[in-house]
C-alpha cells in the first residue's frame, strides 16, 4: 500500500453561454464556419476597444453566489501579456489581483466540501489548428478567431481534492451547478468546460506540499481521473526512488495512457499584469447583487433533497436525475403529468436512457415530451400495452417523437387481453411444444416459462401475460 497521499487542485475554465462575446457584439456560437463571428475588437485590429458584457458579469456573480463565494464590491480587469498566434492582441484581458469572487466551495456527492480560491472573468483565445497533424509535426498554424473573445469564467479550487475519484466528483458537482443556473452548456467535448489540474504527492500525514506539476489536455471527466491517477503513480515512483520531481507542465496522452513533459525552451512567462487602461472598474452595488441572487433557481443539492422528500425517490436516482437542469426539469414535468414519480424515475433511468444512448440524443434534444412519457406509462398501467411493447414505443418516441397512442395504433402494438384470441395462440403453442408440456408436467417449472415465452413471441409481445398465464394454468392444470 502506498505511504504517499496525493494533493490535487483544479482550474476549470467555463465558457459562458451569453449571446455575444465578452468585449464585443459578435455572436458567441460554437461550431460556426471559421472567422465568421469576428469584428475589429475580437480580431485585435488597430484602434479597437473592449466594452464589458453585463450578462457575463451577471453569470459569474450568480455562479459565485450559488457556490457560496464572496462577491467583491470592487473589481477590475488586467492585461495578461504574452504572444501566441491565437491571441488577437497578444494580451488577454483577464483579472489578476481583484477577481470578481473569492472563497466559496463545491460540495461533492460524498458531502466533502472542496473550497474555492477564486472565480474570475476573462476572454477566450482563438483556436489554433496545426496543419499536418499534431503541433510537433505541423507545417503551419491555421487560426480561427470565432472563439476569441468568448467570455470565460475561471474557477480555481484550493488544493483540497484528495484523489482522482474526488476530482471527477468535483467536476460533476460543478457541472451540475453550472447547468442548473444556466450559465453554460458545459460540454467538455465542445470545449465549453476545460480543466487543468495541479497535482503533487507527499508522505501520508505530512503537512508540507510536494512539488506540483500541472496537467493539461484532458478532454473528459474520465480523462481527468485517468491522467491524475497516472501522474500520481509517476510521482510516487520518483519519490520512492529518491528522485526529484520537476515542476513543469505535462500533457495527457489519452491513447498512450501517460503524461508527457510539455516543458518548452521558453523560460517561465512574465505576464506583466497591469490594469487595462481601456476599461473602468466594476463596483457592484448590493441591490444589483440581491436582484441576481433572487433569480437563482433551486440548486442541484436542494433539488436532489426535494426529489427524495417530495417524490420519495431513492438517493441514487435523485442524484442521477439532478446531474443537470434539463434532466431534472424533464423528470418533474413527467412526474407531475403522470402522477407516478417512481415509475417515471425508473423509466428515465432505464429504457429512456437506453434509447437516448442508442440514438445519440439527450432529454434536451429528443422529440419525446415529458407528457408523452407520462401517457405511455399510464397506458402500461392500464393494460393497454404490454411492458415489452412499451419499450418499442418508447424507443420510437425518443427517436422520432409522436404520441404513444398514435404509435401503438400505427404499429399495431395494442395489448391483447381477449381470452378467445389468446386461447387460440396458447393452443397452437401447446400442440407445437409437446415435450415442454411433458417436461412441465414432470415438475420442471422452467418449461412453463418457456411456453409463456413462446406464446408472447407468437403474439409478437402483445398478449396480456396475466391472461396467458391464467389460460395455461387452465389448460395444463
Amino acid at each position: 500500500m502506498s505511504t504517499f497521499e496525493s494533493v490535487i487542485g483544479l482550474e476549470v475554465h467555463v465558457e459562458l453561454s451569453t449571446r455575444s462575446k465578452m468585449f464585443c457584439g459578435c455572436r458567441n456560437q460554437f461550431g460556426a464556419e471559421p472567422n465568421t463571428h469576428v469584428c475589429p475588437v475580437c480580431l485585435g485590429m488597430p484602434g479597437s476597444l473592449p466594452v464589458i458584457n453585463r450578462r457575463a458579469v451577471e453569470y459569474l456573480c450568480k455562479t459565485g453566489m450559488a457556490l457560496g463565494c464572496d462577491v467583491a464590491p470592487h473589481s477590475k480587469f488586467d492585461r495578461k501579456n504574452y504572444f501566441y498566434p491565437d491571441m488577437p492582441k497578444n494580451y488577454q484581458i483577464s483579472q489578476y489581483d481583484m477577481p470578481l469572487t473569492s472563497g466559496g466551495a463545491v460540495t461533492l456527492s460524498s458531502g466533502k466540501r472542496v473550497r474555492l480560491n477564486r472565480i474570475h472573468l476573462e476572454e477566450d483565445t482563438g483556436k489554433n489548428i496545426h496543419e499536418g497533424g499534431r503541433m510537433t509535426e505541423a507545417a503551419a498554424t491555421l487560426v480561427d478567431f470565432n472563439r476569441a473573445g468568448v467570455p470565460l469564467m475561471e474557477i480555481v479550487s484550493e488544493p483540497e481534492i484528495a484523489t482522482p475519484q474526488e476530482a471527477e466528483e468535483y467536476l460533476g458537482a460543478l457541472k451540475a451547478v453550472l447547468s442548473f443556473i444556466g450559465v453554460s452548456d458545459v460540454k467538455m467535448h465542445e470545449g465549453s468546460l476545460r480543466c487543468d489540474a495541479n497535482v503533487s504527492v507527499r508522505p501520508v500525514g505530512a503537512s508540507e506540499l510536494g512539488t506540483k506539476t500541472e496537467i493539461k489536455n484532458m478532454n473528459s471527466f474520465k480523462a481527468v481521473g485517468a491522467a491524475l491517477a497516472s501522474e500520481i503513480a509517476r510521482q510516487i515512483a520518483l519519490a520512492q526512488d529518491g528522485q526529484r520531481i520537476v515542476q513543469e507542465t505535462r500533457g495527457w496522452d489519452d491513447a498512450r495512457g501517460t503524461t508527457y513533459s510539455m516543458r518548452s525552451k521558453e523560460q517561465a512567462h512574465d505576464y506583466r499584469y497591469f490594469p487595462d487602461p481601456d476599461l473602468v472598474p466594476l463596483s457592484l452595488d448590493a441591490a444589483t447583487l440581491a436582484a441576481w441572487k433572487s433569480e437563482l433557481p433551486e440548486l442541484p443539492a436542494q433539488r436532489r433533497e426535494r426529489f427524495v422528500s417530495q417524490y420519495g425517490l431513492p438517493d441514487y436516482d435523485a442524484g442521477v436525475l439532478t446531474e443537470n437542469r434539463a434532466d431534472a426539469d424533464y423528470f418533474e414535468a413527467a412526474a407531475s403529468a403522470s402522477g407516478d414519480p417512481k415509475r417515471v424515475s425508473n423509466w428515465l433511468m432505464g429504457d429512456v436512457r437506453k434509447a437516448l444512448e442508442t440514438h445519440d440524443l439527450t432529454l434536451t434534444t429528443t422529440k419525446m415530451r415529458p407528457e408523452q412519457l407520462a401517457a405511455l406509462i399510464r397506458m402500461v398501467a392500464a393494460g393497454e400495452i404490454t411492458g415489452k411493447s412499451a419499450k418499442t414505443v418508447c424507443d420510437t418516441m425518443v427517436a422520432e417523437g409522436g404520441d404513444p397512442q398514435a404509435i401503438v395504433a400505427a404499429q399495431g402494438l395494442g395489448q391483447v387481453s381477449d381470452a378467445s384470441v389468446i386461447g387460440g395462440i396458447v393452443d397452437r403453442v401447446l400442440s407445437a411444444n409437446q415435450d415442454s408440456v411433458a417436461a412441465y408436467r414432470s415438475g420442471k417449472s422452467k418449461a412453463l416459462e418457456f411456453i409463456v415465452g413462446q406464446v408472447m413471441r407468437e403474439s409478437r409481445g402483445k398478449a396480456n401475460v396475466d391472461v396467458v398465464k391464467a389460460l395455461l394454468k387452465e389448460r395444463l392444470g
Binding site: P40, P46, G47, R79, N81, T141, V143, D270
Partner: protein
Amino acid sequence: MSDNGKLTVPGAPTGHALRDAIAAKQRTAEEITRDALSAIERLEPQLRAYITMLPDRAIAKARDVDRRIARGEQVGSLAGIPTAVKDIFCVRDAVTTAGSKILERFVAPYSATVVEKLDAADAIIVGKTNMDEFAMGSSCENSAFFPTHNPWDTTRVPGGSSGGSASTVGSGAVALALGTDTGGSIREPASFCNIVGVKPTYGRVSRYGMIAFASSLDQAGPMTTDVRDAADLLEAIAGWDPMDSTSVDVPVPRYADALRTDLSSVRLGIVREFEESIAGDAAMAQLYKAAYADLAALGATFVDVSLPHAKYGLATYYLIAPAECSSNLARYDGVRYGLRKNGSGDVFSMFEQTRAAGFGPEVKRRIILGTYALCSGYYDAYYVRAQKVRTLMKQDFDAAFAACDAIACPAVSCPPFPLGAKSQDPVAMYLMDYFTIPMSLAGIPALSVPAGYVNDLPVGLQICAPIFEEARMLGIAHAYEQATQHARRRTPAAAATA
C-alpha cells in the same frame, strides 16, 4: 507661392467662412473641395503633409452635400468644409498606417467614431496626414515614410506627432484637421505651425478607431485656422461613445456660444515653475510676457500658481506611456494584418523579424522601455510609482484651479527647429513636451493658440482649464486671438519682401 520659404495659400478662408459661403449659395462644396485638393497638390512637393489622399471620396461626398443642399435638405454643421485627418484614425476602405511600415498596406474595414461623426456632420475628408510613427515623436521625423515640413519655413519641422495635420492647416490648404495628443502632439505642432490646436479633456472624445499609443493619455482633437473653427469641430466630434468604455457621458455644449471677446473677471493662473523654466530663453520669455500683457489688457487678472511636481512630468510620462504602448503594440505581429517577415520557420521568430522590420527605432525604444517598466520585480518601482506621481500632478492642478479659472503658460520651449536638429538625441526631443505633458497626465483640457513670432517663427500660447471646461478655455483663447490676430499678421521679414 513662397516667401522666406513660407508656404501658404493666400487668403485662405476659415471653415466657418466657407460654411457661410455655402449657405449663401456663393460657392458649392464641390468647388471648395476641388480648390482644397489642388492647393494641397501644389504644396505637397514641399510640405509632404499627406500619406494618402482621398480625392474620390472627397468629391463624392461634396457632390452629395451639394445635392442635398439643392433639395433644401438639412445638412451637417461642417457641411462642405475640407478636413484632413491624421493617419492614426481608421477610415473604412482606406489605407491607414499610423505612420508605420508595419501598417503600410493596412486597409481599415471600419471607420473611427470621430470619422463617422465628421461624415455625419458632412465635413469633406480629403486625406490622411503624416505623423510620427504610432504618435511617438515631436517633429514628424519619426514617420516611417518621410518627414513633413513646416509651411512657415520648409527647412524646419512642423512639430509632432500630428505634424501633417498642423502643416496642411498652417499652409491654409485646408481649414480643419484632426490630430491626436498624448503628451503634446496637437499643441506643440499647432504652436510650430501657427494654428489653433486643442487637446480635449480625457474622455471627451471617443478613441474608438483611433490607433492606440498610450490608452490613458491619447485624445483626438481639432487643429484649425482659428478658435471658432476649433470650437465647431470639437462640438462635432465630442460626445459619449458606447464603443469606448473610457468616454464620458457629459453633454456637449455649443462651444461657439462661449467665444467671448473680453476677459473681465477671468482669473488666469501663471505657473511659477514654467516661468522659471522659460526665463532661460530671453526671446521666448519676452514673447510670453507680451502675451500675458495682452491678456491683462482684455481684463484678466493674474494669480501665481505652483505645479511643484511638473518637473517629474518627463519621467512620469516616459514610464506610463511606453508601458501602455508596449502592450498596445503587441498586436502587430504579422498574423491577422500588416507587414509579415518570416524568420527561421516558426511563428515566434516570425513575430520577432516582423516587428524588427516594421517598427522604427523610436517605437522600438519605447516598447523596450515600457516592457521593462511592467516586468515583475520592476513594476512597483517604475509603473506604479509613476502612476502615484501622476496623482500628485493631478492634485497640483486641483489646487491651482482652486485659485484661478484657467492657466496661461508656454506651449513650447522654442520655435520650430530645423529638420535633423534634434533627431539624434531622443531625450532632447522628449524635452519638447515639457510644458504639455503635465496636462495630459492630469487629463485636463489644454490648447495652443498663435502668440506671435520669435525669429520670424511661430510660437503658441497654451491655455488649460479644469476637466470638461473646454468652453471656458476656448472662450479665453478666442478673446486673445481676436485681440491679437497673430496668425494673420505677417512677419516683419515677409512684410519686407511684400
